[in-house]
């Protein structure tokens, strides 16, 4: 009995160390420092000022609103783009090919976000691949400005997050019995009805967990908005970055980091409530 206890502690200690040292303590420290404010006399006091400045200066909450709306839209877009792919890979293609296709989908992750973003820059820049090709074909005379716009930022964010939607949706679709689709079609349902009444409701837990992951990845991403979005991108993480590294106001940065965490959690909670999904089911 004692021996079993020892092995039990040997296994639990790394887990606890991980959770406490790397997750709980840093966040508690961040949380505490977010209330520290240097008053006019140069004395550090406890105050809500760091949080209040978020609401007082409209640029901050407008940026946040913009970040949130873009993140939600891109998450929805990721679902729209990947759902047919996930359906095709699980229900249409035979199993031995589908695992090969999933490997193909993984390639951008292996290469890394930064490299894929530079790849997009090559494609999207004013005299990049796409513009040169269109000019060569004679469709346009002057290059279309795509890089350093919201368009290129959306493409970059979508590209790096799609996989995190596809995998959970595929595993949810995998458990869908083909005979349900056949039964629906036998009862007179069109393809659209089958998709909306049978396939999507069945895949809902997978869609929700994919949605949460994609949303979190996008709202917390810094690289794609910063590089592909250019100067005008106005992504909330960039403001946090600025507080920490440009203006060296760590407590202000901590407060904004917490606001991001809380507001994005609130959005996820709201969407889960709205769609009637339970976090336990989504998480599994």
């Amino acid at each position: 009995m004692k021996k079993r206890n020892l092995t039990f502690y040997l296994f639990i200690i790394p887990v606890l160390l991980w959770l406490m040292l790397l997750i709980v303590f840093p966040h508690v420290d961040l949380f505490l420092s977010s209330f520290q404010f240097e008053n006019d006399d140069g004395v550090t006091v406890l105050s809500f000022n760091n949080y209040l400045s978020f609401f007082e200066d409209s640029i901050y909450w407008l940026t946040f609103l913009r970040t949130a709306l873009y993140s939600i839209s891109i998450t929805v877009l990721a679902f729209v783009v990947t759902f047919p792919v996930a359906f095709y890979l699980t229900k249409v293609v035979s199993r031995k090919y589908s695992s090969f296709f999933v490997l193909l989908l993984l390639i951008p992750i292996w290469v890394g976000e930064l490299v894929t973003i530079y790849g997009w820059m090559i494609l999207l820049s004013d005299y990049g691949v796409i513009n040169s090709f269109l000019i060569y074909l004679g469709i346009i005379d002057t290059p279309i400005v795509m890089l350093y716009t919201d368009f290129s930022m959306i493409i970059g964010l979508l590209y790096m997050s799609m996989l995190f939607m596809i995998i959970p949706v595929m595993s949810a679709l995998d458990s869908l019995d083909d005979s349900l689709i056949e039964a629906a079609s036998d009862l007179g349902a069109s393809k659209w009805t089958i998709a909306t009444k049978i396939v999507v409701p069945h895949a809902m837990p997978g869609i929700a967990s994919g949605g949460i992951m994609v949303f979190m990845l996008i709202i917390g991403d810094y690289v794609a908005p910063n590089i592909l979005g250019g100067k005008s991108s106005l992504w909330f993480t960039e403001q946090i970055y600025n507080f920490f590294l440009t203006t060296i106001n760590w407590s202000q940065g901590a407060a904004f980091g917490f606001l991001l965490l809380m507001l994005s959690s609130a959005i996820i909670w709201g969407v889960l409530k709205l769609t009637g999904q339970k976090l336990e089911r989504v998480g599994s």
Partner: protein, 352 residues
């Protein structure tokens, strides 16, 4: 009666094998037609072709005089009850039954009344709001049938729907299905590998083997007069024998048992005898009977289905004989010698 379904020279080839080969049959309006066959005989492929999920390689399917060529499943006047029922787990009983009606241009009030009517008919009123996952096997069965029947199909196809139920419930559902079919009068085409299901419920049974129909007949004829050796062996229990010679009206089995069977115009190779065809202790004055002595090996007690396994002393052939559960043979025990008679008409001989 009209033919609601006509299948003409229907074949289905897959890469490397033939699932269904030149099948011809028709089903009468309001009939209960079963297709009986071992697994892998092509019966499910045949059903899927009728419902439109599988395209025929050759031949034609005609429902109410209309060819179904190129018509997708959702446009065919047939509905199917799947083997695993395929109820929609994301909907309750009422929504499941209403699913098909909602796909048509029918007013909401009519949908509600028709669903209610259907649920009443299958004995599920009060279950409207229940989730299908909360139902018992028999209730799920009824939801699946109601979901199809509410659309008033010309033909209801059933793909071994009783397979997943336990034995007792299966026996019960057999009778219930037959009564339901009589009551509504919809044509049923029922697929099964369970001969008892097919025999009990059907007006006509087609026995299928290796992609072909061996015989289409009434259950009684199928049992009494099997046309092929496959049917004789597959439908009901039988004692099979190999025949090595046929001379002057006498059959000889591979073990040397001699039986009288006059007037065959072919040389039989196979012989089947039903367990109940053996007459224990026959009276001397019966005509057309061969009497043989046997030694009781074991008694296989199974209530009304009790049989004895006996060895024919003449040839060492082992046979199963039905043992009536009455006072006459109560004292029979292992090792006893019994006289057994077999009537010539009960010897079913086949060329292959």
């Amino acid at each position: 009666m009209d033919h609601i379904l006509e299948v003409k020279d229907l074949s289905k080839y897959f890469v490397g094998f033939t699932a269904v080969q030149s099948i011809d049959f028709f089903v009468e309006e309001g009939g209960f037609f079963s297709i009986l066959g071992p697994s892998g005989c092509g019966k499910t492929t045949l059903l899927r072709m009728i419902s439109g999920f599988e395209e025929e390689s050759e031949g034609d399917i005609i429902i109410r005089g209309e060819s179904m060529k190129g018509i997708p499943p959702e446009k065919r006047p047939v509905n199917i009850v799947f083997q695993n029922l395929a109820l929609f787990p994301m909907m309750n009983v009422e929504e499941n039954v209403a699913f098909g009606l909602k796909r048509q241009k029918i007013s909401k009030t009519e949908i509600v009344t028709r669903v209610k009517e259907m649920l009443d008919r299958v004995g599920l009123n009060g279950f409207e709001k229940k989730n299908v996952t909360e139902l018992s096997g028999g209730q799920r069965q009824r939801v699946a049938i109601a979901r199809s029947l509410v659309l008033k199909p010309s033909i209801l196809l059933l793909d071994e729907p009783l397979g997943a139920l336990d034995r007792k419930l299966r026996e019960h559902m057999k009778i219930e299905l037959k009564l339901l079919q009589k009551e509504i009068g919809t044509t049923f085409i029922y697929i099964t590998h369970d001969q008892s299901e097919a025999l009990v419920m059907s007006d006509k049974v087609a026995v299928m083997n290796k992609g072909r129909f061996e015989q289409i007949d009434t259950p009684k004829n199928l049992y009494k007069n099997p046309k092929t050796s496959f049917v004789a062996g597959f439908v009901g229990e039988s004692n099979p024998f190999e025949i090595t010679s046929y001379e002057n009206g006498v059959l000889t089995t591979s073990h040397g048992w001699k039986l009288t069977k006059p007037n065959l115009d072919y040389t039989p190779l196979k012989l089947f005898i039903r367990p109940e065809a053996f007459i224990l202790n026959p009276t001397e004055d019966l005509e057309g009977i061969d009497v043989v002595e046997m030694k009781v090996k074991t008694i296989l007690f199974d209530g009304a289905n009790t049989k004895i396994s006996a060895i024919i002393t003449q040839s060492n052939d082992e046979v199963l004989i039905s043992l009536p559960q009455n006072a006459q043979f109560e004292d029979l025990k292992e090792g006893d010698m019994v006289k057994v008679g077999i009537h010539q008409d009960d010897l079913k001989c086949y060329k292959d």
